[in-house]
Amino acid sequence: MFARRRFAVLKDLLEYVGIEPGRLHFSWISSAEAAKFQETVLAVTEAVKALGPAKHMIKDIRKVA
């Protein structure tokens, strides 16, 4: 419940700086909801797949500094 407020702000902040909305997902799934778990994995994977590989925030040490 406290975390919910933190996540709300963080998600808005990351979207604000340009991380695509579909890269970050939150869900509530109880330990009895195996079906919801399966659905959510599918949904998350599809959303991220549609966006393609991550472009921002990547620390790449191969780059010449």
């Binding site: 990351l14 700086v17 340009g18 959510t40």
Partner: protein, 323 residues
């Protein structure tokens, strides 16, 4: 409305009185700096030292910062000169149990709105400014080979235009009279400037804003919210934020610093005033505070009673983003 010079004289009188009566051990205020437009935090321990105190539109540091950073221990009683934002930060520090109300004596001042030295310098590109003085509603800017008058209203710090509380919210004594609470600007209209951009343009705008960052952490160290003994950038095991100039490292620092101020930032502008390369980090913090206002209806530091927004919850908090 008193001029800042008159306020300065009254601050000196009050400081001398408090120190000679032994009511406080130290008065934290400003003294005149050695370069134009840079008054510096000054600690007066004796009535004689109190003579050095001043007040002007160039007092850009947030003095409440020094309440938690004082090395002498926090037991002794100090008086502090506080305008609206500083008093709001004192409220925040009390709520976060960093200081107690009893150990600070607040000399409240109505904020005249502080001058952004970068804006003044930008009016005279590449020129050397040698002296800036206040004259009513104008600044007299002298430099090598020029002297000009600039209306103060044009060169205030961006956060001062949209100030929501110029008067101290808590005080033990008021210096001068209270002013109108706001400067007239509406923070919600200018906060979060990148929200207007398309999502794919935002990262470039973010990078452009922070491209000059030299990782000196002046923004963090000038901020009264950043009192952690070990900041996350200094944590080594595990290391959350690399020390390089890689854009991911710079971005990590600024995103997390802004996030740590969520629901606490009073928009005092000390971070932007401290930055040696003129980065506008309020583009991040203003978005978070706007978000907090919209989601939880909270403005930090306005009173001693309300609970910090990220330390409480309501069962019906917004959660559309959660599947």
């Amino acid at each position: 409305m008193s001029t800042t010079q008159e306020i300065a004289a009254q601050i000196r009188e009050a400081a001398k009185r408090l120190l000679s009566e032994g009511k406080v051990d130290c008065v934290i205020g400003f003294a005149q700096g050695t370069v134009p437009m840079r008054e510096y935090p000054y600690f007066a321990y004796t009535p004689e030292e109190a003579e050095n105190l001043t007040w002007s539109r160039f007092c850009c540091n947030n003095l409440s910062n020094f309440l938690v950073r004082r090395p002498k221990g926090q037991a002794d009683k100090v008086a502090i000169v506080a305008q609206g934002c500083v008093s709001r930060n004192i409220v925040g520090l009390i709520k976060e149990n960093q200081i107690t109300r009893e150990q600070v004596y607040i000399l409240g001042v109505a904020s005249p709105g502080m001058v952004d030295r970068n804006k003044v310098q930008a009016l005279f590109p590449l020129k050397t400014i040698t002296e800036v003085t206040e004259d009513g509603d104008e600044l007299i800017v002298k430099g090598l080979g020029f002297e000009e008058r600039v209306p103060t209203k044009k060169v205030l710090r961006q956060n001062c235009y949209t100030c929501v509380m110029r008067n101290p919210v808590i005080k033990d004594e008021m210096i001068g009279e209270e002013s109108a609470p706001t400067h007239g600007g509406n923070i919600d209209k200018v906060a979060a400037p990148w929200e207007k951009l398309a999502p794919e343009e935002r990262w470039a705008a973010f990078q452009e804003t922070f491209k000059d960052c030299i990782r000196c952490y002046a923004c963090r160290d000038a901020c009264p919210l950043c009192y952690c003994h070990v900041c996350f950038v200094d944590e080594a095991r595990p290391q959350w934020c690399g020390k390089t100039q890689d854009e991911a490292d710079v971005a990590t620092f600024h995103i997390l610093r802004a996030f740590h101020c969520a629901g606490r930032c009073t928009d005092c502008g000390a971070c932007e005033s401290a930055c040696p390369v003129g980065i506008k980090m309020r583009k991040l913090t203003s978005m978070i505070e706007k978000d907090i206002r919209e989601l939880y209806g909270y403005t930090p530091g306005m009173d001693l009673e309300s609970q910090p927004p990220l330390s409480v919850y309501k069962p019906n908090d917004p959660q559309e983003f959660i599947k």
